[in-house]
Symmetry: C3
Subunit: 350 residues, 3 copies
């Protein structure tokens, strides 16, 4: 990218606050803090106004002029950022050509949509159906009877096992595994016997799943990920669980089996739910929260204490915690005793 500020402003339908600088060239974008000469930066939230005032960026795309800075004033700086970064991104990332690479292995019993792209080392098993313009990148595995919609991207070295069903515009990042048998065993004569897992995984339209994440197949019920869900990296969706529309799982969050999560929920980094738990619509788990026994009501935000201290204090807290229940009782007794004493005093004084 190499573009004059005037041209950037024009392409965004915005106004350059200092028209004398219209010929100045920009070649990249960066954060307000790290941008320097030749870089654009973006201010789309007022909470970064101070950073914007101090920024060394060549120009800042924003909603209102910033004193001392060259700005490109636009109505919607978020939209402007998406447009400009999208243009840079498009130049950086060559898209694979449609067609089947000679080093791919596609079963003659599989069906490929129009302009689908199948990279080297990809394996597509019998009965699989791949939609139009969908990209299967190098080394991806698509199992027996898997169905994938249109305009999906399956990144390198993804594994999608038998009979899973993906909608349109689904993105799965490298290393992730979709459709591994759920964790279901019975104890029979002292041994663990696997319960055959006859459910599958259903992923609706516009879902994105990060790298190294795992979505297990249901035992009998299907595991369902509804439209617009976003799952980050190293996450785990248990067998037979369901995630409602537009729910977000942040990095390394997870759950056991048969968990029911509503619409537009948020699972914070490292948060988790135990088997069978539920979250109502619009509820959130803060970072590292564990839901073990009680469902989360709709709209609620759950948090846990931070409890991080220098080592000596951590040890003293730890030693104190088991004494807490008894302490509570002691204080109750003390209160009663002091109350009695107080009354006695009153008698003595009275």
């Amino acid at each position: 990218m190499q573009m004059a500020l005037a041209a950037v402003a024009a392409s965004l339908g915005g106004t350059l606050t200092d028209p004398t600088r219209g010929d100045v060239q920009v070649s990249s974008a960066n954060s307000l803090a790290n941008a320097g000469p030749g870089d654009l930066a973006f201010l789309w939230s007022d909470s970064y106004r101070d950073a914007a005032a101090d920024s060394q960026a060549e120009a800042i795309v924003c909603r209102g002029a910033i004193p001392g800075q060259t700005c490109i004033v636009v109505e919607d700086p978020e939209a402007a950022m998406l447009t400009l970064l999208g243009a840079v991104y498009g130049q950086q990332r060559p898209q694979p050509l449609p067609g089947v690479h000679p080093a791919a292995v596609v079963s003659p019993q599989a069906t490929l949509g129009e302009d689908a792209s199948v990279g080297p080392g990809v394996v597509v098993e019998a009965g699989a159906t791949i939609g139009d313009r969908t990209q299967l990148r190098a080394g991806a595995y698509i199992g027996f009877g898997v169905s994938i919609g249109n305009d999906c991207v399956v990144h390198p070295n993804v594994t999608i096992l038998d009979r899973c069903r993906l909608g349109n515009r689904v993105v799965i990042w490298s290393g992730s595994v979709i459709g591994k048998d759920g964790f279901g065993f019975l104890q029979r004569e002292g041994r663990h016997v696997r319960i055959p897992q006859i459910g599958t995984v259903i992923i609706e339209d516009d879902v994105e799943i990060g790298s190294l994440s795992n979505v297990a197949r249901g035992a009998i019920e299907d595991t369902i990920i509804r439209r617009g869900v976003i799952i980050d990296d190293l996450c785990h969706v248990g067998h037979g669980s369901e995630l409602g529309e537009y729910t977000i799982m942040v990095g390394r969050s997870g759950m056991g089996g048969s968990v029911k999560i509503g619409k537009r929920c948020l699972l914070g980094q490292d948060s988790a739910l135990s088997t069978g738990m539920a979250m109502g619509d619009g509820s959130s788990l803060a970072t590292n929260v564990r839901i073990l026994y009680k469902d989360v009501p709709a709209g609620a935000t759950m948090q846990r204490p931070v409890i991080t201290h220098p080592p000596m204090m951590a040890k003293r807290i730890e030693a104190s915690l088991p004494k807490l229940p008894e302490l509570l009782r002691k204080v109750r007794r003390l209160e009663a005793e002091v109350e009695r004493l107080t009354k006695l005093e009153e008698t003595v004084e009275g």
Copy 2:
């Protein structure tokens, strides 16, 4: 699957409680809650009796008749479920044919057992030995000198590194990595120097390892996973650790190096042990428990408080916790003081 209820009952050696419905067809199975017309459901534990009474299943396989429901009464509903789900599962999942796919790369110095199946993109290095009927699915990597027993399934995109040894009937799910060098470094002149890891990983018979799990190789001692162990997804077994027979690791549990875990232990979801810790036979860690300093005695169950609250309460607890050690001392002083006062009163009153 499409089968009359009478035929299902006969195949299970069970009794149909309403013989007039013997011709009714079932085509699938589902959970008690989700089953509908055409579905079988299973009741194998009395704790689901209410769900069974309300179920819309076409018929329920159970130990004793349920009022208002069509039942197939059998002695062992668990066994019946395993049989029926196994039959459905077998129909759903075509098994790969024996033989080496032309797109596999098998070293001439490797040995393949009878009826072994090697999928497309599989790499088997020199000195590897693969047992009879073992399946290496697409994209699996089998390193130098690895030995794998009979009737194993290595799912797509698994990595098994040099010299690891697997027994019979071992199942490894996609994305897992067996035999990565353990995390062992020395500090030498301000740099981290890797300790060469000359141990290996030994996995005994009937072990199952989930997807995206990691079993590190021992530095000098081997990492050992004993017969019948079940490891779930996204788990981590540290270098030189040992898991006793029939132990279970639930999703995302893990450990550092040189951990010794006894027989029939349970590591709950997200639980972890630090390097060098041990668990006695039959002991358990509840969800999210961390064993940092003290070994777990045989038979013990360890749990941690849940500590999840709405945000304001979480902040107040957090602020209070560092004051706990001092609070304990204060209450002790108060008790002494009140006791003294009480004695004084007695004197005054006496």
Copy 3:
């Protein structure tokens, strides 16, 4: 390995304490506890002196003679261990030959260094540059425009996505994913819209990244891993984060986006930082510590209480914790009351 003790001592420049045993053969090495006849063991820290005294090893390499044991006394037992284990390791692990395997797919627009080794199933995309003697093992994926330095090892089934840059002597273990798009979304009209991630991942010289670890690409800023950093297995480095020189991340540690970590820091097992947090040079997080709100000062060690108890006690602590803030207030009131009573007594007595 099969070597006489005298030859071992000579190769290490050490002294065999019992020269009459110079012809005794050793064939392997093991830990002090597990070593037996034919095994060497190493004592490099005085904290294992008791284990050394009890060891059944054929001989112990150590700094000073141990009563009752055959020792090979050397100045630097650590260095001796590295040498001997390195020799065993070298014999165990055949190195791949230089050259491109016929089952690899290397773009004609990629550049391979001298004596680089490209294994079967490897894909190297256009614009990638691979340094001298670097090994790309079976099934590794190297994206568009990736640059990798000299003497690197990319283990089987690693994924390195577009434009990431690796220095010299970098090691990446199996299953890891480098350069996945960072987790950046905007909410627009009720939907999640991905922010195009135009940053990349820069990994400097002498970095080692374990198996199944994830390093996300920055949105605008690059994600940077400085020289000599060691990352263990199942770890997560968030988008736009930076790890200073020689920092160590132990197994399953992680962070959100834009985290800044100084030089020679330590992130313990299962520890984590939230988005935007920082750690000063030389600071440490103990196992399972979460940094959510406050940066860690240089040199500090943060720890959290262990809080693991038998189930009944865990439940009682849990029930007590929400009462803590009120308890602190109660005790303060009690103290005041008792003080008043004490003064009253003095008056009565006075």
